[in-house]
Symmetry: C2
Subunit: 283 residues, 2 copies
């Protein structure tokens, strides 16, 4: 049985995503930090990992952009999961009993309207969503709640006081990558997506990024994402993460990569994989 | 005396930045959230605000990108502040006494090596750096510390146990914007920088972003930043924040903006201002 690492406690959204990415017949390994996922893959403790990379309302999960650059594991799959936050409480607790609600700062931000409408309830930052539910169940406090998945509520025997707590229902999706040590053997042209890392050769010169994007645009290759992250060793220099809709083995992509050498000092293919689809949480 | 709003408690890095951006002779107004800065400017309670926009190691402060789009206040100045984190404790406390150290998650991440070297000390997330120092002083606990500025240590009468706690000394800078309700009257060509917001007209089509960058590149205008943020109302659509080195009144910039209309459904000039320089904390 494949072992798939994810960040958080059992019941985390990443735990759910792991099943969509690698199938139902897996064992999921909870990790305290994102970096431990990459380490577990590196040392063979895990066969793969499920990492959140972008949320449709909160934006990029920047830590994973940086860790993809640092560890260079390969992206082998993608899924967009519809996120539904639930307010979890000890059995029988009502909204008017609550004084504090714990969750990850991003989940708290996504539910800011709930806190604006209930000013007597304090939003308390925690390291993760499912962990907030687990800790609430352990403490058993009846004036506290946690924002987590319905799956977490089920695992930790908590009541769901309110489902769909997020500000914008039906617009909150998180994109996850499946990662592993070796590239996927994905040969299809249709629905293929490639993600690469690059560093500009002359970042201060006019048109540096324009020339890079031109390698793809001139060949009719659609860019889906162009994200820059601070270079870990050079202040105000960037590592670009570029995703495009083509297989890396596609002749147009090969041409683009050849031309790219003129404008970059570093290029690394993170992976070619099947473009992800939207899934609704079934847990 | 000008009133300048910032997020955090007295002694926050933003409090320091406000003085570089608007001069020494100001009154700084601490706010609980970034959004309250924008509200205070809108309703005239504050004459301006100092907001962090990018950190050289942790990346963009995404909340402020989103609030600039939401409120449309104008950028009138910029500064790059060298950040030096200090470990603040109650007078006489030693490292070996510490069990918990509080700070903003970003500051904790920037000091991750300290926690790796001192595994007996738990990193505890809090809403801000200076607030962690203020709360530590109020609690008076001798097994706790806070990561904040030296200025915060001074204000709250805490000892500085260790200065320069960050992983990469001398590489941690935060870029701040000065914002206010009306544009700056900045007519100089030399050292001018402009930031604008835009939405792509045909985001799914090949070369959409390439064509936008071309408006600048073809006229020899250097782009300093191209950042995308999730569109608040449209999942997987983006608002782009683009900065370039030219005054908006420059004929080349005028031409670029005219051509930009072909590729965008929305453009808004956040401001033309003097490009910022690096300052070292003198507090």
């Amino acid at each position: 049985m494949k072992k798939i690492a994810f960040q958080g406690r059992k019941g985390a959204y990443s735990d759910c995503a792991a099943h969509y990415l690698f199938g139902e017949d897996i064992e999921t390994l909870p990790m305290d930090t994102f970096e431990e996922i990459y380490q577990a893959i590196e040392n063979g403790e895990a066969d793969g990992g499920a990492i959140p990379i972008e949320n449709s309302t909160a934006g990029s999960i920047e830590a994973n952009y940086d860790l993809l650059y640092k560890w260079r594991h390969r992206i082998v799959g993608e899924v967009m999961l519809r996120i539904e936050h639930t307010l979890c409480v000890m059995p029988g607790v009502k909204v008017e009993d609550l004084k504090r609600v714990y969750s990850h700062p991003q989940a708290l931000a996504q539910c800011s309207k709930f806190f604006a409408e209930n000013p007597q309830i304090k939003a308390v930052p925690a390291f993760d969503t499912a962990g907030s539910a687990e800790e609430l169940a352990a403490r058993g406090n009846r004036d506290e709640g946690a924002i987590a998945s319905a799956y977490a509520a089920k695992i930790y025997n908590l009541d769901i006081l309110k489902a769909g707590l997020e500000n914008l229902r039906g617009t909150n999706f998180t994109r996850f990558y499946a990662i592993q040590k070796t590239p996927a053997d994905f040969a299809e042209t249709e629905g293929a997506k490639t993600t690469l890392l690059l560093e500009l050769a002359h970042s201060d010169s006019v048109g540096a990024l324009y020339n890079v994007l031109g390698c793809f645009a001139k060949r009719g290759i659609n860019l889906t994402r162009c994200e820059s992250r601070p270079h870990p060793d050079k202040p105000w220099e960037y590592i670009f993460h570029i995703s495009f809709e083509a297989n890396v083995s596609d002749p147009r992509a090969k041409e683009a990569l050849a031309e790219l050498k003129n404008y970059t000092s570093f290029v690394y293919i993170l992976g070619t994989f099947k473009k992800g689809v939207v899934e609704t949480l079934k847990y």
